[in-house]
Symmetry: C2
Subunit: 330 residues, 2 copies
DNA sequence: CGCGTTTACGTCGTTCGTAACGATA
DNA sequence: TATCGTTACGAACGACGTAAACGCG
């Protein structure tokens, strides 16, 4: 058994059992992978894959077991290499972030450009997706960190560090009836309106639906999008009332009217999620600190090794956070 | 980085930094280890060991980190090999048990000889020690399983399976004053006597001391031994009153008088402790089932993967257990 | 007939063991 | 001087890549 064999093994699995494709991913030739796989199976004494003719049809049950162990081993090998790279003060590498569209578009850019300024040789990969995809990509090992938002408890996976809190806003065109109400905005007002919001608000566990349900109301969601920019476009088109994250409101949206929803919908927290027991490169720690300045580097490293949940310094709100960012960089 | 290099690395650490000794343990030559270590350090770019002259003086801080990861990787490699060996129905291998003297001497022999009958090619290694040593040997990876007794909660480490419950007995010579009491034996009676018991009873957290303390008494322990046989010898010599595990009473001890202490001292449970997330060889599962017949094989494998504590079938008492053993083998 | 896998083969790199050397206590 | 680690060298093994053959859709 060799680390190379295991690397080839998971590469084949990750290439959906296409050895040729896998060989390109690991920068080797296809016969090399075939042969190493054969040797590994010979050494272990059983088939890792089910063959149909000459091609691989599926992974054996025992193969699945081996695959899990092999992944762990390769992860640990990567950790060892990270320890080494950190000690050598290597300033190049990759940073793979799995996150939602909103974070990628409105929250992450400053931190990423600050990182790029400090570490020009680090290549950043952003992988947008739904909450499920994001966590899956973290677990699979593709992503170094995930950035994800929740109204309630932190995501159950890995180590979750709170980055900032935020609220939602109601977005309407100027001169929309909702802008001229004499009393404060209520959920009942919104229940009568066609709503345009994120895809996630269709899920039964969405905090939007729940907020309405606890008042005995039900929202009329006429359109959803994964993308705040799309929501704005349809609000401009008069399709309905937008419900979106306050981070998504830009100066260029002055043609629209945004109303506070702090008292209507529960506050959300954006979390940075990491795999437990993983060695992070120095620039990843720096990035996290840039993105969530209230987290000291030692807070992060401690959280990664400690099994018990920690008590965090107070988590800033999005509105305070921007100020803090500016003052910190000044 | 190679698995062989990592294997050499931990071998050197386990041989207390003596490369020559380590080379014998891994069945290789000493220059081979030296060279591989050098290559590994070159690849990682930093020293894993602190050198004094040509010899290794200590492990670098970073080296410790690498060592931990390397051990994990080698453990996983061993797990993969175990999966393979199980699938091939290999009937040879090793079973390393870390346990206390009492278990090794009085509880384990039947199960071990039954195992040897079924798997003549499996070599069993018993490593007696104190509770701390036993758990350390399990964690270090030397032992496949630990067998250990506790009066209260299960050991905090790994996965603990309850094997059986047992009580202590008071052992005195015939015609000792305690044998002719009209009323039931009490702790107060024992407090007036010189006691001979296990070494562990000297520890402040020992259940013996605690039992006395809750009644405001304090035991006079005149002698301790790690070994039940030694305790018996000194009871015979009239040094004092023995307090020991009921398993230690053999038919050949008919020259002594043993008194129930069920109502005086709390019941103990003997636990089988395993490392979590470890693949066990088939014969290890068989052994556990032989030693704790109330545990089905699936109970064991489930407990190894499940993170949550499980509810066990009723745990037999030592006295019932022997009967069950006999009836099962009949 | 294209795609993917296997087999065959030659070259290269690497590892291993033996043996000699060096340093240290 | 005995013990332990490093260096040197030759032999053998193993891995890799190129090229060709085989199956399958």
């Amino acid at each position: 058994m060799t680390l190379i064999q295991l690397r080839y093994l998971v590469a084949i699995a990750d290439a959906s059992l296409n050895i040729t494709l896998a060989s390109q991913h690991v920068h080797a030739t296809q016969p090399g992978l075939s042969k190493q796989l054969k040797k590994l199976e010979e050494e272990l004494g059983f088939q890792l894959f089910v063959r149909r003719g000459k091609s691989l049809a599926s992974i054996t049950h025992a193969g699945q077991q081996v695959m899990r162990r092999a992944r762990k081993m390769l992860d640990e090998a990567a950790n060892i290499r990270s320890i080494a790279a950190n000690l050598r003060n290597e300033d190049q590498g990759e940073l793979r972030i799995a996150t939602t569209h909103t974070q990628a578009r409105f929250a992450l850019p400053e931190a990423i450009s600050a990182l790029n300024l400090q570490y020009p040789l680090v290549r950043v990969h952003l992988q947008p997706g739904g909450d499920r995809d994001v966590l899956a990509q973290l677990e699979s090992g593709w992503a170094d960190l995930a950035v994800i938002s929740r109204a309630g408890a932190p995501p159950p996976l890995g180590v979750a560090l709170p980055a900032y809190r935020w609220n939602r806003v109601i977005l309407v065109p100027h001169q929309h009836p909702l802008t001229s109400r004499s009393h404060a905005l209520s959920l009942a007002d919104l229940a009568g309106q066609p709503l345009v919001s994120y895809e996630s608000s269709l899920k039964p566990e969405s905090s939007l639906r729940r907020a309405f349900e606890t008042e005995g109301l039900s929202p009329q969601i006429v359109m959803t999008a994964s993308d705040a920019d799309l929501i704005k476009i349809y609000v401009r088109a008069g399709l309905g009332v937008g419900v979106l994250a306050e981070m998504a409101i830009l100066p260029s949206d002055a043609d629209l009217h945004s109303l506070d929803a702090d008292h209507l919908l529960p506050q959300c927290t954006t979390w940075i999620v990491l795999r437990r027991e993983t060695i992070l490169r120095e620039y990843v720690l720096d990035f996290i600190h840039k993105f969530a300045p209230h987290l000291a580097r030692q807070d992060i490293t401690r959280a990664l090794t400690e099994p018990s949940p920690r008590y965090w310094p107070p988590v800033p709100h999005w509105r305070e956070r921007n100020l803090a960012d500016i003052s910190a960089s000044a």
